[in-house]
Amino acid sequence: MDISVIIFYIISVVITGGALLAVTSKQIFRAAVYLIFSLLGVASMYFYLENNFIAAVQIVVYVGGIVVLIIFSIFLTQNSGHRLKKPDGKRVFFSALSVLSALLLTLNVIGNYNFKSNSNNTIEPEIKNIGMQMLSTTQYGYLLPFEVVSFLLLAAMIGCIVIALKRN
């Protein structure tokens, strides 16, 4: 077996194992820690695919940003150190049902999508190309989605400030 295949499987085990532990853990802080491992695994998968920029962004945004916020909210919650109760049967049943249907849907889409390599139209994943692509208005440009996302984030920021400013 090739060494890169072995590395691929190690990363995959970390991603899926971390994700599984995150949802099955009884302590909410531990679940957040397992989530970190899963997200770091995804980042290392990007490194493995030689897409360094996306990998670094994955670490900055998800691990350094979102998980830290999750941990903060855990710290600020009461009783967060206690063990979680076992969920009742009805909840388990319906969550299992929704997860199964999502899994089937994803498998169906992946199965029907025949992965063709479009070698004539690839762009090197360099930071400069990504930036140009983000702001380009040509056919494969991303200016509109970029602007829409910026508006969404701006609205979220203004919402946060309004909530924080509210007195009494």
Partner: protein, 364 residues
């Protein structure tokens, strides 16, 4: 470039590579061996570096307070820190009874690993770095943001209110000061038009960015030093481990080698921050060059690049240690005010000015 030193780090690395290539024919085995050698060398040199920084910190503190500092163990007290390490090795590694044992023992490793990862793209001498990744600046800032997770983990799992308070303070501090650090790094990225550390150093061939980028580069440098001092939890921003208020903060419950690992991570972070400042603003290993003064630049080239790099780094380390004995500790509200009301707006305006300079080509 003329070479008066027969041995440079680059040649040494090449020599070892050739030697290994002859000895080991299997390429996979060769790569693994080389990785192992790099790892062991890095570990040993980092431990030696931390010994030195620990000694330097105490001596600088003593110098600032007009006393002698450690001077009995070994010449000039250099072996004091070795004695301290031996003491820590023999201490019992306590784990509090009600703590979350798994996370409690994991936290020091996360902190140390995060700081060691950030070493990779740093160039210690000319063409001598572990892995000059093409997104160097972004990589260092992303990887160093991981250490806050270790600190939060340590604070939570210790089952101690002081630890938790320290961890919360540290988290708030690191997350907010990261913005200023990032923005001041972006100033240099905009000026040099590159994110790879190697390319940024090469762009300082005719002068360091702190001189070429006019006043905005100096502002960015000052903001970087202030914000990164806060990010590595050093005085005057050491609220997270304020001994007098929190009996040590997030590492209160740690003892023995686990405590030593936090200390190790702190010194490695200090080194990384100073090395990044030296690389981005002061040219890294690049000798002091002025424009096209050929003969002056030639003379400067005679000083080896590793000495340039280490000299700049240690001057910045000295300045950060100097802070510690000059400024009183900030309160948490003052700390957050400083970031959100002063440093962040200043660095945002600074970015706009830097961008203007870069577009108009006003820099040298």
């Amino acid at each position: 470039m003329n070479r008066i030193f027969l041995y440079s780090f680059t040649e040494m690395a090449l020599y070892i590579h050739k030697l290994l290539e002859n000895a080991i024919t299997n390429t996979v085995l060769l790569q693994i061996t080389e990785l192992a050698i790099i790892g062991v060398t890095l570990l040993i040199s980092l431990v030696i570096l931390c010994f030195f920084l620990g000694w330097m910190e105490r001596r600088v503190a003593a110098f600032m307070e007009i006393r002698l500092g450690p001077n009995r163990v070994g010449p000039q007290g250099t072996l004091q820190i070795v004695a301290d390490t031996v003491k820590l090795l023999f201490k019992e590694g306590l784990t509090p009874n009600k703590s979350d044992k798994f996370l409690f023992n994991l936290a020091p490793f996360i902190v140390v690993t995060a700081s060691m990862l950030a070493i990779a793209p740093l160039a210690f001498a000319k063409n001598f770095s572990i892995y000059d990744i093409n997104i160097g600046v972004l990589y260092v800032s992303s990887v160093s943001s991981l250490s806050v997770l270790g600190i939060l983990m340590a604070g939570w799992s210790s089952y101690n209110k002081y630890s938790l308070l320290g961890a919360m303070r540290s988290g708030a501090q690191i997350v907010s000061y990261e913005l200023s650090v990032g923005l001041s790094l972006i100033a240099i990225v905009v000026l040099s038009g590159n994110v790879s550390l190697g390319e940024i150093i090469n762009s300082q061939q005719n002068g360091w960015w702190i001189f070429k980028g006019h006043i905005p580069a100096i502002i960015a440098f000052v903001i970087f030093i202030i914000a990164s001092t806060a990010e590595i939890n050093r005085a005057p921003f050491d609220l997270a481990e304020a001994d007098q208020e929190l009996t040590g903060g997030y590492n209160t419950e740690y003892s023995g080698m686990k405590f030593a690992m936090f200390l190790l991570a702190e010194y490695i972070n200090l080194f990384i921050v100073s090395a990044m400042a030296a690389t981005l603003f002061l040219g890294g290993w690049m000798p002091f060059h002025i424009g096209d003064w050929e003969s002056f630049n030639k003379i400067m080239d005679y000083i080896p690049s590793s000495i340039w790099f280490m000299g700049k780094t240690f001057i910045i380390i000295f300045i950060i240690m100097w802070f510690r004995w000059t400024f009183p500790r900030l309160r948490i509200d003052q700390l957050l005010n400083l970031e959100w009301k002063y440093l962040l707006p200043i660095s945002m305006v600074n970015i706009i000015i830097v961008t203007l300079i870069a577009i108009m080509g006003w820099h040298f």
